[in-house]
Amino acid sequence: MGEYVIEAHGLTKYFGSEKVVDTLELAVPRGTVYGFLGRNGAGKTTTIRMLLGLLHATRGHCALLGCDSEELTPPIKARIGYLAEGHHLISWMNIGKHAEFLRSYYKAWDQTWFNDTIERFGLDPKKKITSLLLIMDDPTLGLDPVVRYDVLESIVTMIQKESCTVFFSSHNLADVERVADRIGIIEAGVLRSDCPLTTFKDSVRRVRCLFRNGQRPELALPGLLRVSWLQNEACVTLARFEEHRLDELKALGADEVEILDASLEELFIDYTTPLSGRK
């Protein structure tokens, strides 16, 4: 097995004439918690299903744990946990924990029947289904805050204790900010960003610019993601940010420039909303 637990090269998927995933490149190192982000319909689930070999790629290929996704053998599959969207099967919990978890969903949960059943099948409630790679499609969707927190806790526990790799999609960016150390952002089938979370937050920046004379110059800068004006202040979001880009803003007449801290959620919105689509 190579250095990367998940790999994709030129991965492309068409549904009819519609390109849903577009020449996607992915290389996820072992031990990573990877947050796979994108708006609805961006191609997250399609990508995940191709990674797992549940869907044929139109072009390109992908591999999990060094094994081609379309030829995953049972021993390899046994080391991969998959949580499909909307299926609250928490595969890293042991059977007892899992029961505890499911019980809260059902008013009519019958513990005696459950105990009998696991006894009949010879299941050990302490037994854990250990996996090297866990792929989850929106695992916290629809969970109450307490259970959601449990899921996050399990992710942190797991990567420390079992040096697992976790790949998950989510719309809850505060969760992603908590547990992920690498993120990918997919938009219209294209993976636009794939880097450590800290790199993303350093390279996409909101800058407050004050123009004392009240004029609003055209801020056509390379990598411009968003401009919003309030009186004589502009909040400018730039991709590929570096310190010296503040000088570009000053050159356009800004009297004061200040880098603002922004949450991942705020940056994600700036990053994925086209300029023209804004008021």
Partner: protein
């Protein structure tokens, strides 16, 4: 000490941890020589990626708040202050300005403002005044 992390905040998580550790050192909740939890322990406690915790510890080490002894753990360092009084004053100035801005806009008098500072100063490990200097 207890950290209180808000992952939705604009302040990065590693910065929240560093700031709260500085506050704890200033108030004496953390004393020189105290051992911080390991990265692993704190990651589990706060439900935060261990790399983020490690980044916070590196930052604390960089600013001289803690020191790490290999294989032993991370320990709170003695409070280090810049050598020259001028430098100390310079670092403090913008915080003084922020305080005075608030006080002015709240309509406080100078005496009331200084009084408010004196009232809480006892909670902090401010250095004792040296005679003749």
């Amino acid at each position: 000490m207890r950290f209180n992390i808000n992952p939705s905040s604009a302040e990065p998580i590693y910065a929240q941890i560093t700031r709260q550790a500085r506050e704890a050192v200033a108030r004496g909740t953390l004393r020189a020589g105290d051992q911080l939890p390991t990265v692993r322990e704190l990651a589990l406690e706060l439900v935060i990626n261990p790399n983020t915790i490690a980044a916070a510890y590196r930052e604390m080490e960089r600013i001289g708040l803690v020191h790490t002894r290999r294989g032993r753990g991370t320990f709170v360092a003695e409070i280090q202050s810049p050598a020259s009084p001028g430098e100390r004053r310079h670092h403090l100035q913008k915080h003084v300005d922020a305080l005075l801005t608030e006080a002015t806009l709240l309509g406080l008098s100078e005496e009331e403002t200084l009084d408010a500072v004196r009232t809480v100063a006892g909670k902090y490990l401010l250095r004792e005044t040296k005679k003749n200097g």
